[in-house]
């Protein structure tokens, strides 16, 4: 559990880094995310998935802080292995030695993993303030954008709380890895209850803090640094689009986006 929470913390924590992806306009990055994501839902071809995986890997190594991204993914991979087992059991039932089920379960998990990887790449390289501004510029009312951004902003805070709670309860002799399935579920209560209570209390603090700083007193919002599209943002989205287009056409034998229209 500690590992998963540490990964979540690392994924969503605000940290400025001078890497290419961190400097791409969040609007373009979000659009690229959609371009990369869409074909994944339209094919189950492992070759195409592999091509996408290599593309993400390339971006991780050349355009972002790879160490941070791999660490964010590490905890989630553990979860995916658990999901794989569950999906396999459902697919294979009642014949548990089933190669076909193993294959389809793998494809489903691979698809899910790619999505998680894309979102990880997006969130580890996007500043939360820029995201709020991007949403505002896309005509989302600022209080709605802010609420969305706030929910992302608090992921590392809650993850950190859960790590602290986990440590505190283990220090009082709680052993989560002992006992049967239901026993282990019951042992989650000493971790979940304080986490909920702290989160509920925090909602109140945040609401008060926002009100005391006159949130929503003016309908128009200005920003210290304005987001603006630059050349490299366009290059990034165009290259990503070209990659998806080429690999999909080569592997699937049809042109994506165009044939769907």
């Amino acid at each position: 559990m500690r590992g998963i929470m540490e990964s979540l913390y690392e994924m969503f924590i605000f940290r400025r880094e001078n890497k290419f992806l961190n400097n791409v306009d969040p609007r373009m990055k979000f659009l690229t995310l959609i371009i990369l994501m869409t074909p994944i839902f339209l094919t189950m071809n492992p070759l195409f998935y592999m091509a996408m995986f290599l593309f993400l890997l390339f971006q991780t190594f050349t355009l972002a802080n790879s160490r941070r991204i791999f660490f964010s993914l590490k905890g989630i991979v553990k979860l995916l292995i658990m999901f794989y087992i569950v999906i396999y059991i459902f697919n294979a039932y009642p014949n548990f030695l089933n190669l076909e089920a193993a294959y389809f379960s793998f494809i489903s998990i691979f698809r899910f993993f790619l999505l998680v990887y894309m979102f990880t790449l997006f969130f580890t390289t996007t500043y939360i303030d820029d995201l709020a501004q991007a949403l505002y510029k896309l005509k989302v009312p600022y209080h709605v954008a802010y609420a969305l951004v706030l929910s992302v902003r608090f992921v590392p805070t809650v993850a950190k709380d859960i790590i602290q709670i986990y440590d505190a309860q283990r220090s009082r002799g709680l052993e989560l890895d002992k006992g049967g399935f239901f026993e282990r579920l019951r042992k989650m209560l000493p971790i979940l209850i304080p986490a909920f209570i702290i989160s509920i209390l925090r909602v109140d603090f945040v609401a008060e803090a926002l009100e005391s700083r006159a949130f929503r007193s003016s309908p128009k919002r200005t920003f210290m640094t304005e987001l603006e599209l630059r050349k490299h943002d366009i290059v990034y989205i165009l290259l990503s689009f070209a990659y998806v287009l080429t690999t999909y056409t080569l592997i699937e034998g049809e042109v994506p986006f165009l044939t769907w229209m």
Binding site: R67, F71, A168, R170, R172, G173, L174, L189, I197, I198
Partner: protein
């Protein structure tokens, strides 16, 4: 003196790449009242999480009563080392104060009879017995803090680690806390207090270890450490009030005796002025 915790060349880096501990070596002796002093981010909390195996050494080792923490579970080590964490909200989950104190005892497999005896004893010690059937969340912040300590003391660990216990506490609460620490010390418990509250440690402790940037930068008696302006500055701390006044007085007699409490300073001033002679 018997060593209860032995830390050697301990290094630890957090997953995000932040180095929290660099080559830390430290001995904690049986029955002593030790302070680990340092500003925020000095690595104090990371260090104490190694004492009961919550974090395992990446380099170097930590031995608790001779047992290497890498070879023991958190539950086994926690029986010897009780850590009271900074924020009581991070541990309370029971409906009643009583259950909160009994939680660790149940986890460690004590009999119903022992649990009843120990919970009653510790609740009485901390003036919480009248609240036994109340929700922990109905308590005041001082009472919560006491309950957090009580819930650790209930299973009687030999070493008690208090992580920033003075945060958000008024002076009266701090004085009470000092009194509890004294009481525990009388029972021959080893106390480790982790804090950045330099005023709190001027009285009642045997030794101070100063940490900064993940390293131990100084170690000595409170009188040595709390008068070492350069060391404290290096650790991003400032002198406590009494040493600061004493140093500003510039009197060699005062400086020689290094007063730490109001009473000590006052008696020196009385001596210098010759009042009452």
């Amino acid at each position: 003196m018997e060593t209860v915790i032995e830390v050697r060349n301990l290094s630890y880096m957090y997953p995000g790449g932040i180095v929290a501990l660099k080559n830390v070596s430290l001995d904690v002796y049986l029955g002593e009242k030790l302070v680990i002093l340092g500003s925020n981010g000095a690595g104090k909390s990371t260090l104490i999480k190694h004492f009961n195996g919550l974090l395992k050494p990446q380099r170097g080792y930590v031995k608790v009563f001779g047992v290497d923490t890498r070879k023991a579970s958190v539950a086994e080590l926690s029986r010897k080392v009780g850590i009271v964490f900074q924020n009581p909200y991070h541990q309370f989950f029971s409906e009643k104060v009583w259950d909160e104190v009994a939680f660790a005892l149940k986890n460690f497999g004590y009999s119903e009879e022992t649990i009843k005896y120990r919970v009653t004893k510790v609740l009485r010690l901390f003036d919480l017995y009248d609240y036994a059937d109340k929700s922990p969340f109905e308590l005041s912040s001082g009472e919560m803090r006491r309950l957090a300590i009580a819930s650790i003391l209930a299973y009687d660990p030999d070493i008690i680690v208090l992580d920033e216990p003075t945060v958000g506490q008024d002076r009266i609460q701090k004085e009470k806390l000092k009194e509890y620490i004294r009481l525990l010390s009388l029972q021959n418990k080893t106390i480790i207090l982790v804090t950045h509250d330099i005023e709190f440690v001027t009285e009642g402790f045997d030794r101070i270890v100063v940490m900064s940037n993940g390293m131990v930068v100084g170690e000595g008696s409170p009188r040595e450490i709390l008068y070492d302006e350069e060391l404290l500055r290096k650790a991003n701390l400032i002198l406590p009030q009494i040493p600061e006044i004493a140093l500003k007085m510039g009197d060699s007699a005062v400086f020689k005796k290094k007063p730490l409490t109001e009473d000590e300073l006052l008696s020196l001033i009385v001596d210098i002025l010759g009042v009452g002679k």
